[in-house]
């Protein structure tokens, strides 16, 4: 049993916990606790056909546009010619003696199988030697989906009558065809196959062409097809915003921790204790399989989120 500290009310942990739960505000001017700004902005006061559009038809603007077109074509031709000139100075394609086929690539090919355990050299490269690069990519995808969420999210429930009506009007959920029998029967056959194929690509990333990114995209496509056939209500039981957040964050955290551990032990010449297994077996090549699964989950969730956000502005 641990004793509760006397100064618990003023301790840093309590403040941090309150801030995390949105109860207290650590910043002075109430920046964090300010009322959330609604997405709908004030409509612009200008009439739809204001004076502004007339400016576009004036003589000067017309001349400027002609000049602009001429100049941009000239600029593009200049860029193409300069780049072609550069290509002419580069070594010829497909030649084994080109300087980009240097000792880095040779090392990956010659020692990759022994050091990473992956039969697919590209997977061994991007998920072992250059794994932090791939972590950055997953973070770029995650940040991209967060930005789209910020820009397109519609959530006006229980705030304002007018706003709620506006949200309902822009929500195209009411216009989607309900119970399309052809689509439903087709997706009954197709969705399981697509999902299994996506899982196959993710799990065999270290053995054959494929991996987390391509398999995740296939999985996301299967989820989108299911959503189109059966609607948001049935999909909402399976896949909610909370589940999306949990899957993405835990996958990214696991990736970061696992790779930090393996890089730390590798850099200090310690035993990492991760078995590499027999090359070619499905349970081989150490951390590459779990990392591929993490990347696949992040990509599948992101693709599905992009679709739902563009479609109706929410999960």
């Amino acid at each position: 049993m641990s004793r509760i500290r006397d100064d618990y009310e003023t301790s840093r942990w309590k403040k941090f916990k309150g801030w995390l739960n949105g109860e207290t505000d650590l910043l002075e001017h109430g920046m964090e606790a300010r009322e959330a700004v609604l997405r709908e902005e004030d409509p612009i006061v200008l009439p739809p056909h204001g004076e502004g559009r007339e400016v576009l038809k004036s003589k000067g603007i017309w001349r400027f546009k002609q000049l602009y077109k001429f100049m941009s074509v000239a600029l593009c031709l200049g860029v193409i010619l300069t780049l072609l000139w550069t290509v002419a100075a580069l070594p010829i394609t497909g030649n084994a003696d080109n300087p980009d086929n240097n000792e880095v690539a040779a090392r990956y090919i010659e020692r990759g199988l022994q050091e990473t355990g992956a039969v697919n050299i590209v997977t061994g490269m991007i998920l072992d030697y250059r794994a932090f690069d791939t972590f950055g990519e997953s973070c770029v995808l995650f940040i991209g989906s967060c930005c789209v969420l910020l820009l397109l999210r519609l959530d006006g429930s229980g705030r304002d009558k007018d706003l709620e009506r506006l949200v309902n009007e822009t929500n195209d959920r009411h216009f989607e065809p309900k119970d399309d029998i052809i689509l439903q029967k087709c997706s009954c056959v197709l969705v399981p196959v697509i999902l299994i194929f996506g899982i196959y690509i993710v799990l065999n990333g270290h053995l054959s062409p494929g991996g987390g990114f391509s398999g995740g995209a296939v999985l996301g496509a299967g989820l989108i097809l299911y959503l189109n056939a059966f609607g948001y209500e049935r999909m909402g039981k399976l896949f909610t915003e909370k589940l999306y957040k949990r899957i993405t964050l835990s996958a990214l955290t696991f990736y970061c921790l696992a790779k930090s551990y393996s890089f730390f032990t590798g850099a200090n010449h310690l035993e990492s204790g991760i078995p590499l297994g027999t090359p070619g077996a499905i349970l081989s090549s150490g951390l590459i399989l779990p990392l591929n699964i993490c990347v696949g989950l992040v990509v599948a969730c992101t693709m599905y989120t992009f679709y739902t956000l563009f479609r109706k502005g929410g999960m």
Binding site: V87, T93, G94, A105, N120, F310
Partner: protein, 130 residues
């Protein structure tokens, strides 16, 4: 341009094609006023870059870098490094395309136009009005 340059360009025809594709994308980006078409031009430029990188790693007559039958000779496989770089590029371009499309949707909701000139004029008038 002398004959040597043209011969060289024809020998590495894939790189030449990727450069021309890049130029087409750049032209679309400059000439079209519609924001969605600008995004399409940007995507064509991305694709040209992937083609260039993939071609740079290719070596004539060699196999994909997946070890078959334990052959680990450098002479057997193509360069795996550009393939990894293309993967990075694809992921970043998916994210930027989604972000650009989201911004375009918001602009359309506010100004009811996809024409960049009209949007700029309306935004300026709105600023003066306030």
């Amino acid at each position: 341009m002398n004959v040597n340059v043209i011969q060289h360009l024809l020998l590495s025809i894939e790189e030449t094609a990727s450069i021309i594709l890049f130029g087409i994308g750049f032209t679309i980006l400059l000439l079209h006023r519609n924001l969605v078409k600008k995004i399409m031009g940007m995507n064509i430029m991305d694709t040209a870059t992937y083609l260039f990188l993939a071609v740079k790693g290719y070596i004539t007559g060699r196999a994909v870098p997946i070890v078959v039958d334990g052959v680990q000779d450098v002479e057997a496989y193509i360069n795996p490094v550009p393939s990894g770089l293309v993967l990075t590029g694809i992921v970043v371009s998916v994210s930027t395309t989604a972000l650009m499309l989201a911004l375009t949707i918001r602009l359309y909701e506010r100004y009811h136009s996809l024409d960049l000139d009209e949007i700029l004029i309306l935004a300026k008038e709105e600023e003066e009005h306030i």
